[in-house]
């Protein structure tokens, strides 16, 4: 694939996520989606860049802000949208909802809603790779708000000690709900924490999908070679509220506008134009993506609701022959 072909592909993925999230927001406003809805708008470059850096056998997992990662990993938008609509065709059969996207076929292992709760789980997935002597690497995403909690510490401690093949990707979008990082950490650069776990640490700008991809690729290589985990702070920003119920009063419109100038979609679109891709090609790509999202909405709306039998059968897994 040529460089601009690959970049086009990444751009399309980011565009699909952006439009998916916008349609999800609309459906939420119409009451077709319930519960919490945490949008990934503004952060698309992180999941897309990360997924471009890994292989099919590698694993990914993240927080409740999980639509972008699932889509970047290849989940069909219809399946994702159906989950938000509480439908049986959803990736978690309508039982999980927005915060719990799972897609084991694509090694997308959730969708976790307890801050810090999945970091050790991610380390466990990486532990398995090591146990079975497989080459797969795990990417574990979380927000900067998770860096003060015990789960973060224990996940990183064990991964660092045992040199597990995992990359901890801290998406620093500057806020944890309404709280800016200046009020939750004495640090400016979170990657300083890595040394305390005997692992590599780095802090990068996340607005350029190629920068993200390249830096994560090298961290993945490090892990795959058995050299241990990396703690990577990726500086990003969310354009919407924490969830749909958050009006975002804690930041100024000026701040938001300023940030939007670095919108990762804009950044990449400009790079594509600079690389000689012409506007009509971009528009065509965007239109096909629009169509895909529109189809996902109709699919979700017309799908069958989540089923009570499935719910009842999903408390305990059947055990294999003893």
């Amino acid at each position: 694939m040529s460089i601009s072909d690959e970049l086009l592909k990444l751009y399309r993925q980011m565009f699909v996520i952006r439009r998916f999230e916008e349609e999800a927001a609309r459906a939420y406003a119409q009451g077709k989606i319930g519960g919490f809805l945490h949008l990934y708008i503004g952060q698309e470059s992180v999941a897309v860049g990360a997924c471009a850096a890994i292989e099919k056998d590698d694993y990914v997992m993240t927080t409740y802000r999980d639509h972008g990662l699932a889509l970047a990993r290849g989940m069909p938008p219809g399946v994702a949208m159906a989950e938000l609509h509480g439908k049986d065709a959803g990736c978690s059969r309508g039982l999980g909802g927005s915060m719990h996207f799972f897609d084991p076929e694509r090694n997308m292992l959730g969708g976790w809603a307890i801050v810090g709760g999945h970091l050790a789980v991610g380390a466990g997935v990486a532990f398995r790779s090591k146990y079975l002597d497989e080459a797969s690497v795990t990417l574990c995403f979380f927000g900067e708000g998770a860096t003060n909690i015990g789960g973060f510490h224990e996940g990183l401690s064990l991964a660092g000690l045992w040199k597990l093949p995992i990359v901890f990707i801290c998406e620093n979008n500057e806020y944890a709900m309404g709280t800016p990082m200046s009020r939750t950490s004495p640090l400016d650069d979170l990657s300083v924490k890595a040394a305390g776990y005997g692992m590599l640490g780095d802090s990068i700008d996340g607005h350029d999908v190629q920068v993200v991809r390249d830096r994560i690729r090298s961290a993945v290589g490090h892990a795959r070679r058995g050299d241990g985990p990396t703690f990577l702070e990726v500086k990003t920003y969310r354009f919407r509220g924490h969830s749909m119920s958050d009006p975002g009063k804690y930041r100024s419109r000026a701040e938001l506008e300023e940030q939007k100038r670095r919108d990762p979609l804009k950044v990449t679109r400009l790079q594509l134009a600079d690389a000689g891709i012409d506007e009509s090609a971009l528009v065509a790509l965007e239109e096909s993506a629009e169509q895909e999202i529109a189809d996902s909405v109709s699919f979700a709306e017309s799908a069958e609701p989540a089923r009570e039998e499935v719910m009842r059968a999903s408390v305990y897994a059947p055990s294999e022959q003893r």
Partner: protein, 328 residues
């Protein structure tokens, strides 16, 4: 009497107690600048300042522990969990530390602390965010556990909790915050003692014990059944599940000879089963039918709205249980 929302009742209790006693402070995620994730602490930061309304990082076990240390040395912390689901990462602080210090110091150091926040399901927030935690905390000696259903009880119990010398687990409810109800007028201070049930409705045919959110489903069910079948239920809300006012419950059952217990926590164990145990033991000769329970189904909470409704204790399940014990 005035009518206010549950949210405001909690806020008033906090405000009055913080006004009364400078040792009281509120600590938790988003309690200050954000005015509370559910706007319970609206205005408190402006009134009391950052030293007494303290936003924390996401570190429940850390700030619960800070509360324990502060309480041991004379302050009166109110620790907010954004929801009680997040108390699980801090459970050791509550169960192994807060509940134990008085005992393991030989009665020398008390821990006057309140842990509070919304308990139980909200609406479609999924299995990790929908726990009713009574079975976890009510089993632990050294803790008190309050679960008020009405604004008046919420206010009066929270004031009592803040003045109590022991750790209190205070269970509110996201869907309760918008409920309106009467509370005493300003200036009429009311402290509701722990361990005193409230008779929410008098009746002669069946005792229904309920606390927290399903109180409202229960009240609907008992009115409907009164109209439809002329069965008159006596509704007893214990308000605190530790201590539990077993005397009032037993007394009522001795009158009605029938009992249904309604709760949102899962069926296995908890205060729900405890009440049944007490009733069958202390009112054995008075029971005309086995005690029935209506609980959430024994299933992690699903996301889809219609399935969530199936799992929660519904008006119709409550009604069926009452009919069953009344052989109606």
């Amino acid at each position: 009497m005035r009518t206010i929302r549950y949210r405001e009742a909690i806020r008033e209790a906090l405000l009055e107690e913080m006004d009364r006693d400078s040792r009281v402070f509120l600590m938790g995620e988003e309690v200050g600048h954000y005015q509370g994730a559910y706007k319970v602490s609206e205005g408190l930061l402006a009134r009391f300042g950052e030293s007494r309304v303290i936003d924390t990082p996401i570190a429940e076990s850390g700030f619960a522990g800070i509360g324990v240390g502060a309480a041991m040395t004379g302050l009166r912390p109110v620790i907010e969990f954004m929801t009680w689901n997040f108390s699980f990462v801090a459970l050791d602080q509550i169960v192994s530390n807060a509940a134990k210090v008085y005992q393991m110091s030989g009665g020398k150091i008390s821990v006057p602390i309140v842990f509070r926040g919304p308990n139980g399901a909200a609406k479609q927030v999924g299995s990790q965010h929908s726990h009713s935690v009574e079975p976890f905390y009510a089993s632990v000696p050294g803790l008190w556990v309050c679960a008020p259903a009405t604004p008046r009880d919420a206010k009066g119990l929270l004031k009592t909790a803040i003045r109590d010398a022991n750790p209190v687990v205070f269970l509110e409810g996201e869907t309760l915050y918008n409920v309106s109800g009467e509370v005493p007028d300003e200036g009429d201070e009311e402290l509701i003692p722990f361990g005193e049930a409230r008779t929410a409705r008098e009746g002669t045919d069946c005792t229904v014990v309920v606390w927290g959110r399903p109180y409202y489903e229960t009240m609907k069910a008992v009115e409907a059944i009164s109209t439809a079948l002329e069965i008159e239920c006596e509704v007893i809300d214990p308000r605190t599940v530790r201590p539990l006012d077993t005397a009032s419950i037993v007394q009522s059952v001795k009158k009605t000879n029938r009992c249904v217990v309604v709760h949102e926590h899962w069926p296995m164990g908890g205060p729900g089963a405890e009440i049944v145990d007490t009733v069958q033991r202390e009112a054995f000769d008075f029971l005309d039918a086995p005690v029935e329970r209506v609980a959430s189904l024994d299933i992690p909470m699903p996301y889809a709205s219609h399935l969530e409704d199936t799992v929660l204790p519904t008006e119709s399940r409550i009604r069926s249980a009452i009919e069953k014990v009344c052989y109606a």
